[in-house]
């Protein structure tokens, strides 16, 4: 599927990917009170991961990972089953799908609740691509909070030193749970840090899909040519709470309302409407039907019976799972 934003078809696909991603996300908010809502950050993760090749390796931030997976062709029903850990999930319930879809060789997930390590995994994936002389790249995203983890700085340094084919995207939604990035990122910004480590750095408006896309396109092209890693620092906003039960005592309603006006989906949709590529009614009705579709899929996944094989295999070794599955 084309996500080339230079063509009307690509632009429609991008819009649809954002709407579908949000529809899945909002259905999860309705049916799963452990969910971490991604509303408002779609331009970063759709723009950041669209238009890559199937063999490029991605490691999205947990917030938005399902939307990236859907965009790369996942079946939403299977994804939803993974979130609830029921029989329909491709991990048989062994994977914690509420934070990230089950991984594959080209999709790096979160293997525990610990943030930061996926950045190292993406760095290693890029090293693998470089070692094998492949023209592919790795793209990874992480939050402003995660940016403070030591392993992120270590990985950026390694990537920069080895000129790895890697694009880092800081999905700066301005809060790590309750701690503002302006407080936590002492000594400047994530961009300043990345510059100090020798990375190419670009700051973008993270609510502007096209700005993210063009920054990503430049960074990916550079990485494919052997030019080394780039950090895209995308400023955005988390419109929902950190998770569903967040009392949100650390911010004001006015602040949230101000950012709601900058909703990345509405912004991009308006552009398409003004350009005559999308009708306002068409946009509204397609959005509604995608919302309903995802709601049905998620509701069905939630009601699915729990996994039957409670403990299929008492070993954690790879060879023992090959026999078992």
């Amino acid at each position: 599927m084309s996500f080339d934003h230079g063509t009307p078809e690509g632009r429609m696909n991008l819009w649809r990917a954002m709407v579908r991603g949000r529809a899945f996300d909002q259905a999860m908010c309705r049916h799963n009170n452990h969910w971490h809502e991604a509303r408002g950050e779609e331009a970063v993760f759709i723009g950041g991961f669209a238009q890559l090749e199937a063999d490029d390796i991605v490691a999205p931030h947990f917030r938005g990972a399902c939307a990236v997976s859907l965009m790369r062709g996942s079946d939403p029903a299977e994804l939803a089953a993974g979130v609830f850990g029921t029989d329909g999930s491709n991990s048989g319930g062994n994977w914690r799908g509420d934070i990230c879809p089950t991984p594959s060789e080209r999709f790096i997930g979160m293997f525990s609740g610990s943030l930061g390590t996926t950045v190292a995994y993406a760095t290693g994936a890029a090293l693998h691509l470089q070692q094998r002389h492949l023209k592919n790249v790795a793209v990874c995203a992480f939050g402003d909070g995660t940016a403070n983890a030591g392993i992120v700085a270590e990985s950026m340094n390694l990537a920069s030193m080895l000129k790895l084919p890697l694009v880092f995207i800081c999905q700066n939604n301005q809060y790590a749970t309750s701690l503002p990035a302006t407080t936590a990122i002492a000594g400047g910004t994530v961009s300043d840090r990345a510059k100090a480590l020798g990375l190419e750095v670009v700051d973008v408006d993270g609510n502007d899909l096209e700005a993210v896309i063009s920054a990503r396109a430049t960074a990916v092209a550079r990485a494919r040519e052997g030019g080394g890693p780039t950090l895209i620092h995308a400023l955005t906003y988390r419109m929902g709470g950190h998770y569903m039960n967040d009392p949100e005592t650390y911010r004001t309603r006015d602040e949230v309302a101000a950012w709601e006006k900058l909703d990345p989906i509405t912004r991009f949709e308006q552009k398409l409407i003004v350009a005559g590529e999308l009708g306002a009614d068409e946009a509204a009705s397609e959005t509604l039907s995608l919302m309903a579709e995802m709601n049905d899929i998620v509701a069905a996944a939630k009601d699915a019976p729990p996994t039957e094989n409670l403990v299929l295999n008492p070993s954690a070794y790879a060879e023992d799972w090959r026999i078992a599955s």
Partner: protein
């Protein structure tokens, strides 16, 4: 070859035959690795970029190896010293070792982390952190004590689809030379009987194997016949070889250089007790360091790590005890005797 040369040879041979293998570590290039851990490899693989000098960033060295392994490489990380393993536990043990389970082997993490440990000529960095490693499901832990085991087990570790921690004892690395058959394969998870005997079973790994062997020689003169088992890998643990031996001798002494709490000795005991359904027919004794950090002063360090004399004394004491039962009284399968 020495153990060190055997390990380097195994890595070199694996890199020759499989170009998805690369080696990353600190000072492993022109410097040829701390204590010559990569001697000769730079000339062979440096120009192709398959030997990579890493900055001090252990979490990311191992984390990037997990990512590369998931993508299809077979990385080897030279971590210098096992005490640095503590810096890498999230990517290596909590997550890397869980990947096969979580994805039902849809994604695997074939990587090797080499780390030197134990008391030795280098002075310092003695901690093996092995109990910590053993706690995480999905990791394999190898400790070779002969050049042949070092070669064969390193080849097996590189072939393995799980993360393997390869612990290299600093007192043994540059010790005795022996012929190595590069065609001989040894499975990770199989113990080796270093010395057959009838009176007391000693289970050991690393330096404790060579010390126990010397203790056994001294004890033989006193008429005590020691059977010495080298675990070779701590995970998986070859409990059936140990069990068979102790059911015959009736007495077990576990000699360990690492911390006594939640470590190899505790785990060997727990697995034995489970295997006999709570009815051991053997006594168990321990020779272990105290539960303290490893002291630095040479005399203190020497007192901390079990000596040949400590092992011999423990075996004598065990031998003096009445074994609970001998092989004739071993409980029958599925029931108490």
């Amino acid at each position: 070859m020495t153990i060190s040369e055997a390990i380097v040879a195994a890595i070199g041979d694996a890199m020759d035959t499989d170009d998805s293998v690369y080696l990353l570590g600190q000072d492993i290039g022109i410097f040829e690795g701390p204590m010559q851990s990569t001697k000769g490899l730079w000339e062979r693989f440096g120009p192709a970029g398959r030997l990579i000098d890493a900055p001090i960033s252990e979490a990311s060295m191992v984390g990037s190896a997990v990512g590369a392994a998931m993508a299809g490489s077979r990385p080897i990380i030279d971590l210098m010293f096992a005490e640095f393993l503590a810096l890498t536990m999230t990517p290596l043990a909590l997550e890397g070792a869980s990947v096969a389970y979580r994805t039902r082997s849809g994604v695997t993490v074939p990587l090797v982390v080499r780390a030197k440990f134990g008391i030795g000529p280098h002075r310092g960095h003695a901690e093996s952190c092995i109990g910590m490693l053993m706690g995480f499901p999905g990791l394999k832990i190898v400790i070779p004590t002969s050049p042949q085991d070092a070669y064969s087990l390193m080849r097996a570790a590189i072939q393995d689809d799980n993360p393997v921690v390869f612990l290299e004892h600093m007192s043994l690395l540059h010790g005795a030379r022996a012929e190595v058959d590069t065609q001989l394969s040894i499975e990770i998870g199989t113990a080796s009987i270093r010395r057959p005997g009838n009176d007391v079973t000693v289970v050991a790994s690393g330096l404790m194997v060579s010390r126990a062997l010397r203790a056994a020689k001294a004890l033989a003169a006193e008429g005590i016949d020691v059977e010495l088992i080298d675990t070779r890998s701590m995970a998986p643990l070859d409990i059936s070889t140990i069990l068979k031996s102790v059911q015959r001798t009736g007495r077990l002494v576990i000699a360990e250089e690492s911390w006594p709490v939640a470590g190899p000795a505790s785990e060997i005991c727990a697995q034995l007790i489970r295997a006999v359904d709570g009815l051991p027919s053997f006594t168990v004794d321990f020779v272990e360091p105290p539960h303290t950090p490893v002291p630095f002063a040479a005399q203190l360090e020497a007192a901390f790590v079990p000596s040949i004399e400590n092992i011999a004394a423990a075996v004598s004491k065990a031998h003096g005890r009445n074994a609970i039962a001998r092989s004739t009284a071993v409980p029958a399968e599925g029931g108490a005797a």
